[in-house]
């Protein structure tokens, strides 16, 4: 039985339908990512699971029991907010203790959880004295101490310094694995979702476009939108090919002939922009060390059939 | 009953009972006739409002407008440089700001009385001038229109300084540097850049000063001593000595109408600019 089940959930606001007939399941112990551009309805979906909005239609269940109309304080679901929402008048320890008053049978102790997130040494600090990363850890501890069935994370990396993000990504993933708690995270960053999640659900304009493991979504996207959102795509005659899947050589007779129109140096790789004889452009991504092409060179481009993407929509 | 109902109930009851209902009764009284023993009763009539067309009352209304306008203008002229000073202060801004608002926190009555103490015939100023031999008789500094204006300006100056300060505080310092870079001297920068940008603050301050001045009672009463009668004094008089409640009620409604009209105009104008009133 999936730990979280969302069935046919719809939410309308005056003027537009934010969430349109969305259904998905989340299995126990997974890190599930809800991915999409801003305004796609992912945050609204999150808020409906947390209990801050009520669906106009559909059902949400946790471990089989429906929670659709329950208030937030009666759900065994907890949220880590985008700006952490730590109570400023309480210390870190008091923040973590906050929910225990209403959940006396919680499995963990405050100290154990603080150690888990490595904030034991700052337990007596106030939120204003903590850095962004530290605040996030306290927010995590505050929710995890209550042993929720599902932990919701709203854009967990958005408020952090960009150079911290890669590190925190790893830490969050490790934390999820170690605690075994089911994480459902909302993000607009496809790199985050692909690198962290066991399952990714892509949303667009209120609808769910595709759900599945990251690699499956990347290699076999079901719609053009998913293909384009997860990475760059070359569309040639209705078929999609990712730039890194395009092979380039100076001679031979594989694939098609084209002329290099631009070379862009990106550090570890090079983008070779070429014009196929037909008047269609193609971008090939080649590791730096393998590229010595110049503008104007005649090259041949080809790709394997298994690297072709034929989305349904 | 939802929790929200109970949260709002005390306030709603208070306002309904002690604000709305009284206003309704005032409107009703304004249409009745003065009773034989000072009360009021039938017949229903428009006469109380008609009486306001009498030039005597027209004069009082005009005088009230004039004094309120003069006080507001003085507050503007005197308050703007002070607000500018505080906004430009490098340090201890809260101190300078606090020194402006502190008098406001103490009793209005006491502050008015302080000026009476200074301006009376036997007051400090006259005593000093007489003692120095500069005058032979005490100057009539109190109990006239000028004293009323002085009292109003003194009382409401903070209401002008604070909104102007709030706008000046948010002013982009780069604008001033740009003006100087283009050749404007400090005084010209103030005149051509700062003052125009401070207009919303000046407008807000003007409303905050003009409206109370228009309906003032205590200042004209104490500082004007019965020689400077404004709308507020006439209204109060109807309910005490003159015992003409219906007329006082009509006058109150008219004053309310004038105030609301002024505010409506002010709100409309500020809706275009950013900031607004309160």
């Amino acid at each position: 039985m999936p730990v979280l089940s969302v069935r046919g959930v719809t939410k309308e606001f005056p003027g537009h339908r934010a969430v349109d007939d969305v259904s998905f399941d989340v299995e126990q112990g997974q890190l599930f990512a809800l991915l999409g551009p801003s305004g796609c309805g992912k945050t609204t979906t999150l808020r409906m699971i947390a209990g801050f909005e009520t669906p106009d239609a559909g059902e949400i269940s946790v471990n089989g029991a429906p929670i659709t109309h329950l208030p937030p304080y009666e759900r065994r679901v907890n949220t880590v907010f985008q700006n952490y929402a730590l109570f400023p008048h309480l210390t870190a320890r008091q923040n973590v203790e906050f929910g225990l008053r209403y959940n006396r049978d919680a499995a963990h102790t405050v100290d154990a959880i603080l150690d888990l997130v490595q904030m034991g040494h700052k337990a007596s600090s106030r939120p204003t004295q903590l850095s962004g990363g530290e605040k996030q850890r306290v927010a995590l501890a505050r929710s995890l101490v209550l042993a929720p069935d599902v932990l919701l994370l709203d854009e967990p990396l958005a408020a952090l310094d960009p150079n911290l993000r890669k590190q925190v990504r790893g830490e969050l993933k490790a934390l999820q694995r170690r605690t075994g708690v089911t994480f459902l995270m909302v993000t607009h960053d496809q790199e985050e979702a692909l690198s962290m999640a066991d399952t990714v659900a892509v949303m667009n304009a209120g609808r769910l476009e595709q759900v599945g493991p990251p690699e499956e979504l990347y290699v076999r996207p079901r719609t053009r939108f998913v293909a384009g959102f997860l990475g760059a795509v070359n569309w040639i005659d209705g078929i999609g090919v990712r730039p890194e899947a395009v092979r380039v050589s100076r001679d031979g007779d594989l694939g098609r002939e084209s002329i290099v129109t631009a070379i862009t140096f990106l550090g570890n790789c090079v983008h070779v922009e070429a014009e196929l004889a037909v008047g269609v452009k193609i971008v090939c991504e080649i590791p730096r060390l393998q590229s010595d092409f110049q503008k104007g060179d005649r090259i041949r481009v080809w790709w394997r059939e298994c690297d072709e993407m034929r989305p349904e929509a | 009953m939802t929790p929200r109902f109970w949260l709002l109930l005390p306030s709603r009851a208070l306002m309904a009972l002690l604000f709305a209902a009284p206003m309704v009764i005032v409107v009703a009284y304004s249409l009745l006739t003065r009773g034989a023993y000072g009360g009021q009763g039938e017949p229903w009539t428009w006469e109380n409002y008609a009486r306001l067309l009498d030039p005597l009352y027209g004069e009082i209304v005009l005088k009230s407008f004039w004094i309120a306008a003069l006080s507001t203008a003085l507050c503007l002229v005197l308050g703007f440089p002070l607000a500018l000073f505080i906004a430009r202060a490098r340090s201890r801004k809260t101190l300078w700001l606090g020194l402006v608002t502190l008098p406001f926190w103490t009793s209005f009555l006491v502050r008015t009385y302080a000026w009476m103490f200074l301006l009376r015939d036997t007051g400090l100023i006259n005593t000093i001038l007489l003692g120095l031999g500069l005058i032979a008789e005490p100057l009539p500094l109190l109990y006239n229109d000028a004293a009323v204006v002085l009292g109003l300006v003194y009382g409401y100056l903070p209401f002008m300084v604070l909104p102007i300060y709030a706008v000046l505080e948010r002013l982009d310092p780069w604008l001033l540097e740009a003006a100087e870079d283009l050749g404007a001297k400090p005084w010209q920068v103030v005149r051509r850049v700062v003052v125009p940008l401070a207009k919303p603050g000046m407008a807000a301050g003007s409303v905050l000063v003009f409206v109370p001045c228009l309906g003032a009672y205590l200042t004209p009463d104490l500082m004007g001593g019965g020689k400077s009668i404004l709308i507020g004094n006439v209204i109060q008089n109807q309910f005490t000595t003159a015992r003409d409640w219906p007329f006082g009620a009509a006058l109150s409604i008219v004053l309310m109408a004038i105030v609301m009209a002024l505010l409506w105009v002010a709100l409309r104008k500020s809706r275009g600019a950013e900031g607004g009133l309160l």
Partner: protein, 252 residues
């Protein structure tokens, strides 16, 4: 220009503060007249013997405390409810009460009370004054508390709900601590306004319930007694100290 501005500011501040300072200085003058004769506390002692003044001062304090408690409580709850969802009628009437001239407010209350007294066996007194003070202070509390609420992070309340607290528990444990300084400021404001009110109070107080401003007014009108200087100084210093202490406490 900077020097000119500073000079002007000095003059302006003198204008604002000198009258009160002079008043305070002369409250220690041993002479009854405006000629300085020597330091003395005679007028302060005279206050102590003035029964009418003492009684009115006590009335003002009592009214002030009652009005403060009631208006601050009702206003805070109203501001909170309105912050969550607009309450058009209440907001409109509160705003209107702020801009209504005091004379009109006082007169309307007097008229209302007299009309009510036809049906109830009540007369004007302390209770009518307290009720009036609560009403006209309400808007101030709502404005001050609402200003603070608008800067408060809404997700704090959501976090509390998420962690298991009900709406009421959330208000007590999370929102109220955030509001405490604003509520303190509002309470002080109500007390200061109530203590100082003359116009409305004089219209609805009736014969037996004089407040301090009413007594001071009568004395000021007569123009002679220097004990007005003394009581004025006491009031100014007291409220000044209260304000400064509140500011200190708010910063901490």
């Amino acid at each position: 220009m900077k020097r000119g501005l500073a000079l002007y500011a000095a003059v302006a501040y003198a204008f604002l503060h000198l009258p009160l300072l002079i008043l305070a200085a002369f409250s220690f003058n041993s002479s009854k007249y405006t000629v300085w004769e020597g330091l003395s506390l005679v007028w302060y002692r005279a206050l102590w013997d003035d029964a009418r003044l003492l009684e009115s001062a006590w009335n003002s304090v009592l009214i002030g405390v009652l009005a403060t408690i009631a208006a601050t409580a009702a206003g805070t709850l109203a501001a909170y409810a309105t912050w969550k969802r607009r309450a058009r009628w209440l907001e409109g009437s509160l705003y209107l009460s702020l801009v209504t001239p005091e004379v009109v407010t006082g007169v309307s209350l007097l008229v209302f009370y007299q009309w009510v007294f036809r049906f109830l066996d009540v007369r004007l007194g302390l209770h009518t004054v307290v009720a009036a003070h609560i009403m006209f202070s309400l808007a101030y509390v709502v404005v001050v508390v609402m200003a603070r609420l608008k800067t408060m992070d809404r997700s704090l309340e959501e976090a509390a709900l998420d962690l298991g607290a009900t709406e009421w528990q959330t208000f007590l444990r999370v929102t109220l601590p955030q509001l405490a300084p604003a509520i303190g400021t509002a309470a002080l404001l109500v007390f200061a306004i109530s203590f100082d009110d003359y116009v409305i109070t004089s219209l609805v107080a009736g014969v037996d319930s004089e407040t301090l401003p009413m007594v001071i007014y009568t004395m000021a009108r007569k123009g002679v007694s220097p004990s007005v200087n003394a009581i004025s100084t006491i009031i100014t210093v007291s409220i000044g100290i209260m304000t400064l202490t509140a500011e200190r406490w708010r910063r901490a």
